[in-house]
């Protein structure tokens, strides 16, 4: 089966090919000029303003929190080494002896959020 051109068929002229080629390359339809679109400048704080203020505020809060925490620790550590840190805690027992059982958890008030009643009682069977 001869799918190609026959020998007698006239081959296209170079002129025709060149014209067809360049015409096919030319954009069609010809696009209009793309006018630039300018965005109106927005009134805003300087880019560094807000972010720096926020950063400074965060750092201050962090430092304040650390400072307060360290002050608390210092006031507590002025006690003697053998004294417990927490006021209500008992003296540490001698090594080898069992600790006594911790005090029973104080019962919660009777009236609770009704929604949480059932699950709470299940978690703590001794609780009424």
């Amino acid at each position: 089966m001869n799918e190609g051109r026959s020998m007698t068929e006239e081959r296209p002229d170079a002129e025709v090919i060149l014209r067809d080629f360049f015409r096919s390359e030319l954009p069609s339809p010809w696009p209009p000029f793309r006018h630039p679109v300018e965005v109106a400048p927005q009134k805003s704080q300087p880019a560094w303003g807000r972010s720096h203020v926020g950063l400074a505020a965060s750092v201050l809060v962090l430092v304040a929190g650390l400072g307060a925490g360290s002050l608390l620790l210092r006031s507590d550590t002025t006690a003697r080494p053998d004294e417990p840190l927490l006021k209500d805690a008992k003296k540490p027992s001698a090594p080898g002896k069992m600790h006594k059982a911790p005090p029973a958890i104080a019962p919660m008030p009777e009236k609770l959020d009704e929604k949480n009643d059932a699950p709470f009682s299940l978690a703590y069977p001794g609780y009424r």
């Binding site: 296209p12 360049f22 390359e25 793309r34």
Partner: protein
């Protein structure tokens, strides 16, 4: 809020007329450099954008046509250099060898093949010859107009045109295209 900036008032119509008359020429000189139609269009748009900005800045251009072609050539050259920096001597691989799912009609395939060969041959020609060929065959300009546009004499246009056509015809014949 966006707005379309205005050139100097009363010159918008003049600008549009210049675009209508010379944008294809700017495209043609850019195309001759790369043989890439889309890139040439980007260059042409950028060229006119620069003109727009010049007018906004209050600059006077005595010969807009010559200015536009000069800027288009420079931009196309810059683009070629940046493409060389990106890709080296090897251009980006194209998908010309990729077969689509649908089979192209035979005539279209033959045409596609012919054009690929023409493009490859054109790339071997000097950019100045490609310019003349593009102006002649894409825009259908005669030798007098081409000579005026390129600021050369008509005999030079004839000579370059004849030489380029002869070279292309020989190679296309050798490849069995013509």
């Amino acid at each position: 809020m966006t707005s379309r900036p205005r050139a100097v008032p009363d010159r918008s119509a003049e600008f549009d007329a210049l675009y209508e008359r010379h944008s294809r020429e700017a495209w043609a000189v850019a195309y001759a450099r790369h043989l890439d139609a889309d890139q040439a269009m980007d260059v042409a748009q950028e060229t006119f954008l620069r003109l727009w900005r010049q007018w906004q800045a209050g600059e006077q251009i005595l010969n807009p046509r010559a200015w536009l072609l000069r800027v288009a050539r420079n931009l196309a050259e810059d683009h070629a250099k940046s493409a060389f920096r990106r890709n080296g001597t090897q251009g980006p691989t194209t998908l010309s060898g990729l077969h689509g799912r649908e089979q192209m009609p035979l005539e279209k395939l033959i045409k596609h093949e012919q054009f690929a060969r023409v493009r490859a041959l054109l790339k071997g020609l000097p950019a100045a010859d490609c310019e003349i060929l593009t102006l002649k065959y894409a825009l259908d300009y005669d030798s007098t107009v081409i000579a005026e546009l390129l600021d050369i004499n008509t005999s030079a246009v004839h000579m370059r045109l004849s030489r380029a056509r002869q070279r292309l015809a020989e190679r296309l014949t050798a490849q069995g295209v013509v």
